[in-house]
């Protein structure tokens, strides 16, 4: 294509039969997602988003708009949902107090329940439930601590953690996901 030519990109039209108009209520009925319907899609969130500025893949406004439109499958199964760095810059800048960072988390919660969370996060949850720490602890960490005059790493209340995860049903979702998929 020469300079000055107009590039015409054809995109698949959004068809109403593919939409789930109830999706926005699913989000709005959660504590974190309660303000989603206040969005008037000004895009301030996206203009200030440090991920959006860098990548072009993740745009908070687009995700919110897709939810409001009812593009349930696209939102829940897509990669962009998980690229929010949760820095909450958008939260503070939002004129409508949509709590965008929290809305993203509310959408992620649904995606997780349906088996679409990134494996790395599910693995991290396993480490948490099995050790009480958010990351794998090693003997070399204790060694380094000793050299610095610190005590050994304390024991975490793993049993309590597992009981809590059982009561909320979290453990089932963490451990059964792979077979279900």
């Amino acid at each position: 294509m020469r300079r000055g030519d107009i590039e015409i990109t054809l995109k698949e039209p959004i068809r109403s039969k593919d939409l789930d108009p109830g999706f926005k209520y699913e989000i709005a009925n959660t504590y974190l997602g309660r303000n989603i319907q206040a969005c008037f899609r000004c895009g301030a969130c996206t203009g200030e988003c440090p991920v959006g500025i860098l990548t072009d893949i993740y745009k908070p406004r687009q995700i919110i708009a897709e939810v409001l439109l009812g593009m349930r499958r696209d939102v829940l199964t897509g990669d962009p949902l998980w690229l929010c760095a949760t820095c909450y810059t958008c939260d503070d800048i939002c004129a409508q107090k949509v709590n965008i960072g929290d809305v993203i988390v509310a959408i992620r919660n649904i995606a997780f329940r349906e088996g679409y969370a990134p494996k790395s996060l599910v693995e991290q949850a396993k480490i948490l439930l099995e050790s009480g720490w958010i990351l794998k602890t090693t003997a070399s960490m204790d060694k380094k601590r000793e050299e610095l005059g610190l005590s050994r790493l304390p024991k975490k209340a793993v049993e309590d953690l597992q009981k809590i995860a059982k009561s909320t049903g979290f453990d089932k979702l963490i451990y059964m996901k792979e077979e279900e998929k």
Partner: protein
């Protein structure tokens, strides 16, 4: 000054032990009394909140309940992730009695109950509000006046403001005052409050390192001697992550990074060795030379 329950979280004791050394060695001189918390768990941070809100709230409530059991009303944490997560949990549980009731039904299975009384504070804000700038000035024995510092507050110290209760703007934040209290200059540089991408490391290496690289370039342009943070995740990004970015993009930044508690320790006359600063990956020689 009253006693505080100390909640260290995961990253500080495991990955950034020099932060723990510094906060312990400096606290007594500042008149801060920290009481150790026992039988805690990880706070259930953003990555877990992203999977399940209610589980995260329950895990948070369990940790907060321990503070009540200790007969204390304030938890102090050196970690931005723990701070934002637990402060948010505490705010929800205080403002929504029904949610508190539901969470307590979960906690009953581990013989705990949370009454909703705990305040969560970040260590740096305790330095500022409880110790105060004047007292810190008095304790400094090293001349830092030639030192140009760029602050890295980290997102979850301030955002979202509605939860953290900490006002900020691109021009000013209380950390500037804390830096000035040590005698050093707090240099304004571009995007100093912008995210380092730390929480994306688990999801996309490409994005996390791309973001970190932008932050490093901005810091470099700020013509600073070193960056100072109060967040263990920012620290890992700027220390270990800086090395990874240098390798990946075949660039050199050489930006030394200190944690504010370490800076205080140095200012109070503790040696780099006593503070365990050799555990840093990015060499601190240029900074140490300047303040010797």
């Amino acid at each position: 000054m009253k006693d505080f329950a100390l909640y260290l979280g995961c990253l500080t004791p495991t990955r950034v032990p020099s932060y723990e050394v510094a906060l312990r060695k400096t606290s007594e001189k500042m008149g801060l009394r920290f009481i150790e918390m026992e039988n805690t768990t990880c706070c259930s941070p953003m990555s877990i909140l992203s999977l399940d809100y209610f589980t995260t709230l329950s895990i948070g409530a369990r940790n907060l309940a321990i503070v009540e059991e200790m007969g204390l009303d304030t938890m102090v944490t050196p970690c931005n992730g723990c701070f934002e997560g637990l402060k948010k949990a505490a705010a929800i549980l205080r403002n929504y009695p029904e949610t508190l009731e539901q969470v307590n039904e979960i906690l009953a299975t581990v013989d705990k109950e949370y009454k909703g009384t705990v305040e969560v504070r970040h260590l740096s804000k305790v330095y500022y509000d409880e110790v105060g700038v004047d007292k810190i000035k008095e304790l400094m024995v090293k001349p830092f006046d030639s030192l140009r510092i760029g602050i890295r507050p980290g997102c979850h110290l301030m955002k979202p403001t509605a939860i953290t209760g900490i006002d900020y703007s691109e021009r000013y934040v209380f950390l500037d005052d804390l830096i000035k209290a040590t005698g050093a200059e707090s240099v304004y540089y571009k995007h100093r409050f912008r995210c380092c991408g730390g929480l994306l490391r688990n999801v996309s290496e490409e994005v996390t390192e791309g973001m970190l690289r932008e932050r490093l370039i901005e810091l470099k342009k700020g013509d600073i001697d070193c960056a100072v943070t109060v967040c263990p995740l920012c620290f890992l990004q700027y220390d270990l992550g800086q090395k990874l970015v240098e390798r990946k993009f075949k660039e050199k930044y050489n930006i030394p990074i200190l944690i504010y508690s370490e800076l205080l320790g140095l200012g109070m006359g503790l040696s780099a060795e006593e503070l365990g600063l050799k555990t840093h990956r990015v060499k601190l020689d240029s900074v140490l030379e300047k303040i010797s």
